[in-house]
């Protein structure tokens, strides 16, 4: 995976994005984690067409995105 893609993935939550845009660290430390972890991929896409995937299922640990969807085990009857 290219560095560019890594950068895109790592900035898919609000906290990372704020940091990458130069926001003071004090802001992200004060905002609750569930807010800084909010997936802003759709909004970033609006800003510049950044190709971030939102909430990819079955992704590897390193690919996990921060939209906090908790996928549940499914038993098929």
């Amino acid at each position: 995976m290219s560095d560019e893609n890594n950068d895109k993935k790592s900035s898919s939550d609000l906290g990372s994005w704020l940091n990458s845009m130069g926001a003071p660290v004090s802001i992200t430390e004060l905002v609750p984690s569930e807010i800084t972890g909010l997936d802003i991929a759709p909004i970033l896409s609006m800003l510049g067409g950044v190709g971030i995937k939102s909430g990819v299922r079955g992704a590897q640990a390193g690919d996990a995105t921060a939209d906090e969807i908790r996928w549940l085990p499914v038993l098929r009857g």
């Binding site: 609000l14 704020l18 845009m21 130069g22 926001a23 802001i27 004060l30 905002v31 609750p32 569930e34 807010i35 909010l38 997936d39 802003i40 759709p42 909004i43 896409s45 609006m46 800003l47 510049g48 067409g49 939102s54 909430g55 299922r57 939209d67 906090e68 969807i69 908790r70 996928w71 549940l72 085990p73 499914v74 038993l75 098929r76 009857g77």
Partner: protein, 270 residues
């Protein structure tokens, strides 16, 4: 519910730069400005590369064109996802940190949410038209796309489908496929919380044929997320579920149930 909106799927959309819906530009400008580290310009806002589908859905046009049924379903899913994210932003402390009380930003946020709600209502009542003259998917792929579309609440009439198919191939759909397509039912978007025994509940969601589309099911705050191939639908959970621990999902042909258990220490009963 009906609207005068016509949505065409399968026709190549007209290319063009398009314009960012004004309310979106206002919102982003107001949201970003208070941080002081990013000065948006009109040039930037004018060049916003909104996802094509999102831009189309928010536009006031009476005729929207999508490349495929799948693209339409994905755009509606994206619209719902962003709408939920924006509502969370408005309801939590983030609103204060962003200075949403200043610069009319909250006004724009609420306006944008309102525009999204309006767009959703227009889509629900829209007339859907399929056009496979340039690109016709396989019946199997189309079945999956129409299932995704049904998940986000949009129905495709069987007659319209058969007509589009016939015009593209001069061959009628087989009875088997007609029957399969007619079996697709629009997802109602509702579920009920049922008490099984003391401290044990299930949240039951009925949707005809859900067992055949192999959905992934998850929770996001107070929302149940149903995902079919990346297209998502959301169901708001009763407030009581926030104090329950989810277990497994039992999926059958026409419904699924999520096991939920209550920690008595968090929910004392008389």
């Amino acid at each position: 519910m009906s609207s005068s909106l016509l949505i065409t799927c399968g026709a190549e959309p007209t290319r063009g730069s398009g314009t960012t819906p004004e309310v979106v530009a206002h919102f982003l400008e107001s949201l970003i400005q208070p941080f002081g580290f990013f000065q948006p310009t009109h040039g930037l806002l004018g060049e916003l590369n909104l996802l094509r589908g999102m831009k189309s859905l928010l536009s006031p046009s009476q005729h929207l064109e999508f490349e495929s049924v799948q693209q339409l379903a994905q755009a509606i899913s994206d619209l719902d996802s962003i709408s939920i994210a924006l509502r969370h932003m408005d309801s939590e402390e983030f609103a204060i940190w962003c200075g949403l009380g200043r610069n009319n930003a909250r006004t724009h946020l609420l306006q944008l949410i309102g525009e999204m709600n309006q767009a959703r209502n227009r889509i629900q009542g829209a007339q859907l038209q399929l056009d496979f003259m340039h690109n016709r998917p396989s019946a199997k792929a189309l079945f999956r796309s129409l299932t995704q579309l049904a998940l986000v609440g949009v129905v495709c009439e069987s007659r319209q489908l058969q007509q589009a198919w016939l015009m593209s191939t001069e061959t009628s759909l087989s009875k088997k496929w007609i029957s399969k397509f007619e079996s697709i039912k629009v997802f109602s978007g509702y579920g009920v919380l049922l008490e099984v025994e003391a401290l044990r509940f299930v949240f039951r969601v009925k949707w005809k044929g859900v067992g055949e589309c192999e959905p992934a099911i998850g929770l996001f705050r107070n929302q149940l997320v149903i995902d079919v191939g990346g297209v998502r639908s959301f169901v708001e959970l009763p407030a009581a579920c926030s104090r329950m621990e989810p277990g497994t999902v039992r999926l059958s042909k026409n419904k699924f149930e999520i096991d939920l258990s209550v920690k008595e220490s968090e929910w004392p009963r008389s």
